[in-house]
């Protein structure tokens, strides 16, 4: 019993002693889309040897914002990754909890690919066709009806006569958010939008609703799993980030959207129609408190990482155009904060 007591005492002292000290390791939370890039930067940063390797937790963009905005101090994360810009609600939460100086850094661009097995013939879709294949309700002859399309050729006779089978990400995923705003809302026909508005509903919200009759299947947050399923079934399609396409190009390929296939250049200048910027947010108040935070921002935004020949480009991040890069680099180096309201 004595040994037990001693061990417990030692543990308690140990935990509270090191807990009382300031944290010496950067803590990062947030988006699972930015996670692969942030982890690579963290590892490079740790290998340099001056500071400890940052700890990164993949919580999703929304979950990350919640933790990030919970307050200032060593118990709260220093950085949150986001696959979309911070929302005004989240800004308000941050301000309420005293997180007032936030540095916004644009990491780069990411394209969402609409992919299928390499065994299938090449395909090309317009955003409207994609919306018609996925939406819960579509407009036919001036009326909103439950989605009746069973085969791609039902939507447009030029498309193959194959059953519609699309693996979709769950509603909590940032990729699904981006897909909704870039494809579902943009591809939604004017007719459908005006019909929704005539009924007093928000067109944006209604257009993004996906069908639940078995033609669009939720496949979970795990993109690797979606890739495996696509490789096994040549008729199925799925959407996910560009880096997953690059890493698995022996198994899957991307369909063209509006005639454009995803490529580094196309995502960078947004000529590929489903591209979006990725962000992270850092707390200025933690600079100087948590060792290495300023240096980490510098490493992440360095040419070696984010530049066109940087190591992040190797794993699928699409670098920023040079004018945008300058803005982001200055923000990170001079700790430029954003306005909260």
């Amino acid at each position: 019993m004595k040994t037990f007591k001693n061990i417990i005492a030692i543990l308690a002292i140990l935990s509270f002693a090191s807990y009382a000290n300031a944290r010496d390791q950067i803590k990062i939370v947030g988006s699972s889309t930015v996670y692969p890039y942030a982890t690579v930067v963290a590892e490079q940063f740790g290998k340099k040897g001056s500071f400890k390797t940052p700890v990164i937790e993949s919580t999703g963009t929304g979950g990350g914002m919640k933790l990030f905005c919970a307050g200032i101090g060593v118990n709260h994360p220093d950085i949150t990754n986001a696959s979309r810009a911070i929302k005004s609600k989240e800004k308000a939460l941050c301000e309420k909890n005293g997180v007032k100086d936030i540095i916004e850094v644009v990491v780069g661009n990411d394209g969402i690919t609409f992919s299928h097995s390499t065994k299938a013939p090449d395909a090309n879709f317009t955003k409207e066709q994609l919306w018609r294949a996925l939406a819960a309700k579509v407009d036919i002859d001036g009326k909103l009806v439950e989605n009746p399309y069973k085969k791609w050729s039902d939507i447009d006779s030029s498309l193959p006569s194959k059953k519609i089978e699309i693996l979709i990400a769950p509603p909590t995923s940032g990729t699904r958010d981006a897909w909704n705003s870039l494809v579902m809302v943009k591809g939604c026909t004017k007719g459908a939008k005006s019909l929704y508005e005539a009924n007093g509903k928000k067109a944006k919200k209604e257009c993004a609703k996906m069908r639940e009759d078995g033609y669009a299947v939720e496949a979970g947050e795990n993109d690797t799993l979606i890739v495996q399923k696509l490789a096994a079934n040549p008729d199925a399609y799925g959407f996910f980030g560009y880096s997953y396409l690059l890493a698995n190009k022996d198994k899957i390929k991307a369909a063209a959207v509006n005639g454009v296939k995803p490529s580094l250049e196309g995502i960078q200048d947004y000529s590929y129609p489903i591209a979006r910027p990725l962000f992270f947010y850092a707390k200025k108040a933690h600079v100087g408190v948590v060792p290495g935070l300023k240096e980490f921002l510098a490493e992440f935004t360095s040419k070696k990482a984010m530049g066109s020949r940087g190591y992040l480009t190797d794993i699928g991040l699409v670098p920023l155009a040079s004018d945008k890069y300058k803005i982001t680099r200055t923000a990170a180096k001079d700790l430029v904060t954003i306005k909260l309201n």
């Binding site: 019993m1 037990f4 061990i7 417990i8 543990l11 140990l14 935990s15 090191s18 807990y19 944290r23 390791q25 803590k27 699972s32 996670y35 692969p36 942030a38 982890t39 690579v40 963290a42 590892e43 740790g46 290998k47 400890k52 390797t53 700890v55 990164i56 937790e57 993949s58 118990n75 390499t118 947050e221 795990n222 993109d223 690797t224 890739v227 880096s243 997953y244 690059l246 890493a247 698995n248 190009k249 022996d250 390929k253 794993i315 699928g316």
Partner: protein, 420 residues
Amino acid sequence: MTKEERLKKRHNAEKRFRFYGLLSVSLAVIFVLVLIQNIVSKGSSAFSRTTIATDISFNADLLEIEGPITKKSLEEAEFYDLAVESILKIYPSKDSKEERQVLRLFSPDYEYEIKRYLIKNPDKINQVASVELTSSDDVDQLNKGNFPRDLPEDRRRVSNFQLNIYDNLVEDGKIGKKFNDYFFSKGDSRDPELAGIGGSLMGSFFTITICLILSFPIAIMASIYLEEFAPKNRITDFIEININNLAAVPSIVYGLLGLGILLSVMDFPRSTPLVAGITLSLMTLPRIIIPCRASLKAVPPSIREAALSVGASKFQTVFHHVVPLAMPGTLSGTIIGLAQALGETAPLILIGMVAFVVDIPGTPVDPSASLPVQVYLWSEQAERGFVEKTSATIMMLLGFLIVMNFIAVYLRQKFEKKWN
């Protein structure tokens, strides 16, 4: 129906039942075998890593060391220039693009590997030595046959130029296979060839140790009191029902408890084995108390009566006679409870143990991952090299669980007294 017919019918019923029983046992065995075969066939290749034997000329001038060459000055020296110069010599490249492709045949850690080699063999300075460098995961997967090479170039991870170099290296016998010590000694990494379970192994070890320290004494005390000393009344009945119910509560609920109380109210550090251990010990407590009480109950009353009749106090009876006899069952119950805690993922996700941690934790308050969480993290990675790492980690986890369960069975068989 004659007597014989009825007899035959009864015998047939028995035969059918035996057949169903055999069928279900063999189905269960087949499922387990398929699972294990699937994991082992995917994961066994993770225990070896591909190396490329490269001639490195240890030119002291390139290290830019001022003063005498000592172990310390070598540790501080930059090996990048020296490494790149020697590596580029393995194949002539036309331009910087091709040079980059040559370098990408190797893991990004080549400079550190060369540094470690020279520190181990300091006599090689200003000489040429063949060093076995770890290859990149693309070459590794190619060598292990997990990447098809007959695809058109734009669908391959390895370019024609790189494939050509690889074939030359194979011909020269420079490509080798080594036991993958990195898999056990290193922490997490984004490069599959450098990723290891060292960090999560330590994380799991700290977690289970804290869980044991907290739950074992409390569970034993609670079960001894409830079984031997507590009066049988409504309150103890109520406690007993609650313990049984708590043992059946889904583990994620304990994760929420840890998040709500340990992290939010008590401000314990996130993603640490300390919090994980406390959370899991809450979960394991009822699961240990139940077998402990059962094994105390299994000690025959004659032992207690004999001790009491020669004048031992209640306390002496329990601690000198009953508890030692119940110990085998108690210990095996504890080990099985801990084995369950070892394989638990859901509560750890809620308290932030799903983190990318490179540094191997040295204390229970350092951020860390644990084995089951490592499986979850790696299964989501895009790179092909992580597929085998995931399966290999599952093999390690299964190995630990089998060993723990074996110890539990052994303790029970070896020390348990049979009462006839």
